[in-house]
């Protein structure tokens, strides 16, 4: 049940991000849309890895090695999302760097001002 809620939240975030991406003209808002889409993807990926009544895949006093395989959630989506979060941060950094350069060239962040980029 809980993973349905989380999955729906993630997919809705992707849609919100896409809507922001397509309708806004300000580059910073477009970058925010991208980040929302990325976050939504992470949430949806983690939700898919949930196993009913599972716990974190860390073996300690309360989780014995022998019964680990039957009580934990899927560790692979979590491992992939750790990677994806870092890459998402890196992509955002590059987008912001380009936004700074674009602002330097035209003194505005509206994409309507950048129609002459076809050469």
């Amino acid at each position: 049940m809980i993973s349905h809620v989380v999955l729906t939240t993630g997919l809705l975030l992707i849609l919100i991000g896409l809507w922001g991406l397509l309708t806004h003209r300000d580059i910073l808002r477009i970058i925010i849309g991208f980040s929302l889409m990325g976050t939504g993807t992470h949430i949806a990926t983690v939700a898919i890895g949930y196993v009913s009544n599972g716990t974190a895949p860390i073996i300690d006093r309360t989780l014995d090695v022998s019964q680990a395989a039957s009580r934990v959630v899927d560790p692979i989506p979590s491992a992939l999302v750790v990677t994806a979060i870092v890459i998402g941060m890196a992509v955002t950094a590059v987008m912001l760097a380009f936004a700074i350069r674009l602002y330097d060239s035209k003194k505005t962040l509206s994409i309507d001002a950048f129609m002459d980029s076809k050469w």
Partner: protein
């Protein structure tokens, strides 16, 4: 207006795809075979209680190495894009360069050492509990960000950061190659004895790889943060 209609159509049709996904999704009641073998093998073969760290640093260690390379590329790319600044002089005169207020400064002086200790804790316990190199590196970078915000005059030593990052990256690859020679394959953690399960020095090379990864990620994020500051001439 017509653009909004197109956007609504695009978002709506993707929403239909997602709706069918969400409706058709059913929660799993047991692990898939690959995940089950990971959960079984990480404590047995690698001696690491945290399955996710075991997957990240050993079974998918090559993936992590590629990701660290991406981070390095981004740090270099951001530096390249932001290094030539024709109109930056104007931005820096507009920027208020005076110090932060007393409260913020005192708070930062207390918090930054604590943040550094917390980062070291997260990095070194990556194989035992939730945490690891990436997370700890991000915490280090948050400490650097706080310092940069509070002390605008503070200039991190970029050369030291890039040298530390390069050494950490080279050692990461060397540990991987050592695994190729003395253990089962590239980035195999069994080049050191596995030790007692759950102890601080256990799980072979995983704590070492975690520390290297934390140093590398922390340095790279700090360099990226420093690049985003308006340069003073």
């Amino acid at each position: 207006m017509i653009q909004r209609l197109f956007a609504a159509a695009a978002v709506g049709s993707l929403g239909l795809v997602f709706a069918s996904l969400a409706v058709g999704y059913s929660e799993q009641y047991s692990l898939r075979p690959l995940a089950e073998s990971y959960v079984r093998l990480v404590p047995l073969e690698l001696g690491a209680p945290n399955v996710i760290t075991g997957i990240l640093l050993t079974y998918r260690g090559f993936d992590t190495l590629g990701e660290v390379a991406v981070l390095f590329m981004v740090a270099a790319g951001v530096g390249l894009v932001l290094s030539r600044q024709p109109a930056r002089g104007r931005a820096s005169t507009k920027m208020r360069s005076d110090e932060a207020s007393e409260i913020v400064r005192t708070g930062a002086e207390i918090l930054v050492p604590l943040i550094c200790i917390f980062a070291a804790y997260i990095i070194m316990n990556g194989h035992l509990s939730a945490g690891g190199g990436f997370q700890g590196g991000a915490v280090i970078a948050s400490g650097v960000l706080l310092t940069l915000l509070v002390f605008p005059q503070y200039q991190p030593n970029l050369e030291f950061l890039s040298i530390a990052e390069s050494i950490a990256g080279a050692l990461f690859v060397l540990v991987g190659v050592a695994g190729l020679i003395t253990a089962g394959g590239f980035l195999d953690n069994r080049i050191f004895p596995l030790g007692q399960f759950g102890a601080f020095f256990s799980a072979g090379a995983i704590p070492l790889l975690s520390a290297l990864l934390g140093i590398k990620v922390g340095c790279e994020l700090s360099v990226i943060l420093e690049r985003f500051r308006p340069q003073k001439r």
